[in-house]
Amino acid sequence: MDRHVHDRRRFLALTGTLAAAPLVSACGTGFGGGRQDKGGGSAADDVTGSFDWKREKGTTVKALLNKHPYTDALIADLKSFTEKTGIQVTYDVFPEDNYFDKLTVDLSSGRASYDVFMLGAYMVWQYGPPGWLEDLGPWMRNSSATAAEWDRTDFYPNLLRAGQWSLRAGEPLGRGGQYALPWGWETNVVAYHTGVFRKLGLRPAETFEELRELAGVIERKAPGAGFDGMYGIAVRGSRSWATIHPGFMTMYARNGLRDFTVEGGRLTPAMNSPRAVAFTEDWADMVRRGGPPSWTSYTWYQCSSDLGAQKAGMLFDADTAAYFQAVKGASPASGRIAFHPGPKGPDGSLATNMWVWSLGMNARSRRKSAAWLLLQWATGREHLRRAALTGHHIDPVRRSVSQDGAYKDRMRHLPGFLETFETVAGRTRIQFTPQAQFFDTTTSWAAALQEIYGGKDARSVLDGLAGDLKAKAG
């Protein structure tokens, strides 16, 4: 019996130790996804000799892509990349609702499941500081790794700057590492239904006050003018960062307003300044007067499809969101959608916020040289021109494509598209202050906007938001 007791104790002690072992080991090394080793320089330095597209022949590169017409154009053209380089590309495509969660989880796991992926400039602020993104600067500067025809000066400078950051909160873009390359972008403008404007004798708004009026007029008069169920203006409203960055941030910036002020490297929320509060009240008022009936769930998909279905008289969002509805045969409203730069600020400002679909490289990729060839090709003139002419990869990131005669001929049938693009392209840039808490900040901002829309006092809601964000982002 004694022996049994002894055995039981030993057994329990042994199993206890076994169970605790992984926990103890976790204490030392349990935190995954750490910063990459910065001490060894860039893998770009390993590429020497003359440039050769066939350098990585036989390699397979894996890409993570968001479901988008730009992606469709890329996939349709991948065969020419494989012919040019001998590199195979495999890819996964996810819808936008899940795409960034998938990418975030994958990168934070510290694995190298994907060599190349799509991202926006804001994601650089989140993925850059932990060291998940490869600095593409050394690759761009290495003439052995980069083809002479890949002309970086051909990109719109603002777009290239959008992916370049020092990784320090509050510091402006355009300094430090190049963490993403511009691939396709969007500028935020007003698109409108020409039929309802003609019938009601309306003109596009030149001021924000006029835009609010216009939204209300369409809401009241359009159904009686043969546009049954049409409301004034489609703008995003879901509880997401994506609600803030298109129309709202564009008009906010045109009013000379900032999200944060930066002093001595410290960020102070500025969305509760008196002028910002007044603007936010006006925006919520515009949505109440003439916005979508279920605004708090509205993403760009709903906004875009409402314009196409002739349910919305106007759309203040990405020009591409209207373009996809405007092209021939795409929607009941195609052929009746026109473009306008949108209202100016009080001082005539047409400052516009942008979204730039970019391509980035996983810092942990084991096939960086091949991945860089894919990035070069995908952001190169040859593919982008083809994608703009044969696919729906519009809003060219390269000047040479936007000035191309064939591209202009293709876009000319859309009333006001080229003129609007040319008017705002040079004034479009990231209007947010770069900082790693961007998604928290803007999601909370969207929630605050919903509360104000719901009738809460704008001043107290925005004061509460600013107080909360000061602790997080400061």
Partner: protein, 294 residues
């Protein structure tokens, strides 16, 4: 020769022990992470001990989420219990129609809650949704179901009720069919009315079965994520921001891993305490039911 029989019981218990370790290990690791300020911005974090919990408990956002979570759980579990028992009582008397209805009843349980929420999201859409279309003849065609704070919470609860009332009904129906017949026969001989029998016999004896369903539904509702996330994403504002969604946003979307896990640990503590209280109550009720049927 003597060692083999001595070891056998331990070898037999080994799978259960490994399973227990498999459950406890992630939990313990999660608990351990909450003692650090582990985030994407700080992959090699400092030990902050209970600071995450202190920060969490001092935030209005946490208390708002805790309140919304409790409202949701009480509302959903309460409505499901009342409706589930009512449906079970209606179906108890077996008939061809009842048997068909029983089969239809369990249909919502075969649909993933997230899919159910998406279906309802479309149905509740103010301008094209079928619900407002059906209400239009009664002058109620413009209801903004998920656009107002109260509407969003009620709509979320309604979807939960739609999905899970059959679960309560099925359990209650099974309970009704397993009740002993003699007390009811005695009551009938004594001339007891239907309402008296229901109040004094059926419900007290059925209550243990119902309470099992309540425990499951209450705990599940405290942990809800899928229905609310698909329907409202926690909005408008923070009106449906339950603890699980807050934890997900903190840990995954905003990559503050330790802080996000702290939310789930607090939620676990709440669920554990609630379950403990309810299970103790179940024991007392079972004893009471035994006295009635005995």
């Amino acid at each position: 020769m003597r060692r083999r029989p001595a070891l056998r019981p331990y070898l037999l218990v080994l799978p259960a022990l490994l399973l227990t370790c498999g459950i406890l290990y992630p939990f313990a690791l999660g608990l351990y992470y909450t003692l650090f300020d582990f985030s994407a911005a700080k992959p090699q974090p400092d030990l902050v001990r209970l600071h995450n919990y202190g920060t969490l408990l001092s935030q209005d956002a946490f208390w708002n989420s805790a309140w919304v979570t409790v409202l949701y759980a009480v509302g959903a579990a309460g409505a499901e219990t009342v409706l589930g028992v009512a449906v079970a009582l209606l179906l108890h008397r077996s008939s061809p129609v009842g048997r068909v209805l029983e089969k239809i009843l369990i249909l919502p349980l075969m649909i993933a809650p997230v899919i159910a929420a998406i279906i309802w999201k479309l149905m509740l859409q103010p301008s094209v949704g079928v619900v407002n279309h059906l209400l239009r003849p009664f002058g109620l065609g413009g209801v903004q179901w998920t656009d107002t704070p109260a509407g969003a919470l009620l709509s979320s609860i309604a979807v939960d009720v739609w999905v899970y009332t059959p679960f309560v009904a099925v359990l209650a129906l099974a309970g009704l069919r397993s009740l002993p017949g003699s007390p009811f026969e005695a009551a009938a001989v004594d001339g007891a009315g239907r309402w008296y029998t229901l109040r004094r016999l059926t419900l007290p004896m059925l209550w243990p079965y119902v309470l099992v369903a309540v425990i499951f539904r209450f705990m599940d509702s405290l942990k809800v994520f899928d229905i609310i996330y698909a329907l409202t994403e926690g909005g408008p504002g923070d009106s449906t921001m339950v603890l699980q969604i807050r934890a997900y946003l903190e840990a995954i979307r905003f990559q503050r891993y330790s802080f996000g896990i702290s939310y789930t640990i607090v939620l676990w503590a709440v669920v554990y305490l609630a379950a403990m209280v309810l299970v103790r109550r179940l024991g007392r009720i079972q004893r009471g039911a035994a006295e009635v049927s005995g």
